[in-house]
């Protein structure tokens, strides 16, 4: 495990981080500029801002999917901003659960395999992995769908599969990108309940959203606002923007 649960210091420390895509080329994009932030264990953070403000980029930096062009990122005491990609991949599968806007499930693959394939590189025996997947599917009322291909599931079911997949490695941090974008009001509420439950289990949640239902939800403990790749507000009291 790359995270020590008993450590009360900041979980993630971002120091003066910039991310520039296509650097020194005509189509250069400065997605993030000089961001400094700290996230603590057990927080539920909402990243807000209009589309193109750099929310997704910040999430991918936090989630170790990309490395910053400048600046440093620490996961607890470990400097992760300059690690080779293979180490980042390992941190991703051990530490983070991801829920994407488009779900990003493997459409032609069964629900069960969707949960297991991402964990294949981990040194977990096949049997243990399968047991864990079946427990999660039962929890999300998907037991009878385990052999079904994702293509044949409804939107709400796909959302639940995506959540179950994020929890496969029992990660301490959940990263969600616009999780309610494709859900109706009822399903959004259901999702909020699940997220609240995950938080009570001790997991840290970092959610990028511009959906008011999500941002104003009582479980959000902190709001971080971005605009044009810069930090404009960091509100820790749960008060409105």
């Amino acid at each position: 495990m790359s995270v020590d649960i008993n450590n009360n210091g900041p979980l993630i420390r971002i120091e003066d981080v910039s991310k520039i895509y296509h650097q020194d080329k005509p189509d250069e994009v400065r997605a993030l500029q000089n961001i400094s932030l700290e996230f603590f264990p057990g927080e539920v953070v909402a990243l807000t801002g209009p589309s193109g403000s750099g929310k997704s980029t910040l999430l991918s930096l936090i989630g170790c999917m990309a490395r910053p062009t400048r600046g440093t990122i620490y996961l607890q005491d470990r400097r992760v901003s300059r690690l080779p990609e293979s180490f980042l991949a390992r941190i991703r599968r051990e530490t983070y659960g991801f829920v994407f806007q488009q779900y990003h499930l493997l459409r032609d693959v069964s629900v069960l395999d969707n949960l297991m394939f991402p964990l294949y590189p981990a040194a977990i025996p096949f049997k243990t992995m399968r047991e864990r997947a079946l427990v999660l599917l039962a929890q999300f009322f998907l037991t009878d769908k385990q052999k079904t291909k994702v293509r044949q599931l409804s939107g709400g079911e796909q959302q639940r599969v995506a959540l179950a997949r994020a929890l496969m490695a029992d990660p301490p941090i959940i990263i969600a990108d616009e999780p309610t974008a494709h859900l109706d009001a009822e399903l959004s509420l259901e999702l909020l309940n699940i997220l609240a439950e995950l938080n009570t289990e001790g997991r840290t949640l970092i959610i990028a959203s511009h959906d008011p239902v999500m941002c104003q939800a009582p479980l959000i403990s902190r709001r971080v606002a971005l605009r044009h790749g810069e930090l404009v507000d960091d509100n820790r009291d749960g008060a409105g923007l």
Partner: protein, 335 residues
Amino acid sequence: MILHPGILALLLGSILILLLLLVAGGVALRILRHWNADSGSATQLQLERQTWLVSTLLKYAFGFQIVTLFLFLFTLDEIHPLFVGAMCATGSLNANLVGWLVLLVKIGLVFAAAFWLAVNYLDQRTEDTPLVRIKYVTLLLLIPLVALDLWLQWEYFSGLRPQMITSCCGSLFSAEGEGVISTLAGLPVEQAMPLFFAVVLLYAVLLLASLRWRAMLLRTLLFVASVLLFFVSLAALVSFLSLYIYQMPSHQCPFDMLQGHYYYIGYPIYLGLFMATLFAMLPGLCRPLATTLSLDEELKSSEPVWLRLALFGLILFLVTSCWQMVFGPLILLGY
């Protein structure tokens, strides 16, 4: 001569290996020029991804090299009826002496590629990859060796003239011959056998000691002992082990044992010897790298695995090569 199907396959294989290495070499040059581990630039990211391409290319080139080494020996055996006087692969090699050089270069390449892959494996497991420069400079040095292999093979096969009268293992490895090989083969069994077993014993003791203690000196000694083991074993194979394997008092060919008549016993023999040599050389060879902290950590976890693999190789080699000596009916030394 070149149009023999096996020779075509060999040349094709060597050309492909060279191509793989040239691609890897191109990447290596780019890495050597632009590598900057502290940079967050897209170029650096691109280079890091290309290191995976290089290690895969090298892994495959290594695999192909082993396959073509055996195919080479196999082909030598296959074409020997074309030469008057040749009774096995040795005869084909003698038909054009460049053949011995080809064999030497091929074996050298297998070892070199294995070392490179071992170092690469260590380096890729560390966060700071301290060996990038060394790795890619040595990679560039491997390319001329591969090209040499291809060229020598071409020279060998195009220089072969059917009907050429050559000498075979019987005369080459007999005591009357001249040169190093005959001298080795001519070693009386009474001297060769104790020498062989003394070296095996020395090697085994050092290996077990290295498993127990992590002293630098032990590893250096083991390195020397494994090189010694390799050559003494080859000599022993020619001088007396082959006699037991073939159950004939005068057949001293180191290649025939790879054939079906001898139940392919040569494959486990050479595989065992190769493993015993390679994996016992690695700890000594990689020891200077232990000065880097991250590599030292990796070495600590890899060394026991290597040493155990070497031990396994030694046992495999001893069991398969000495089996007939203990249980076979042929007796060279009358006690």
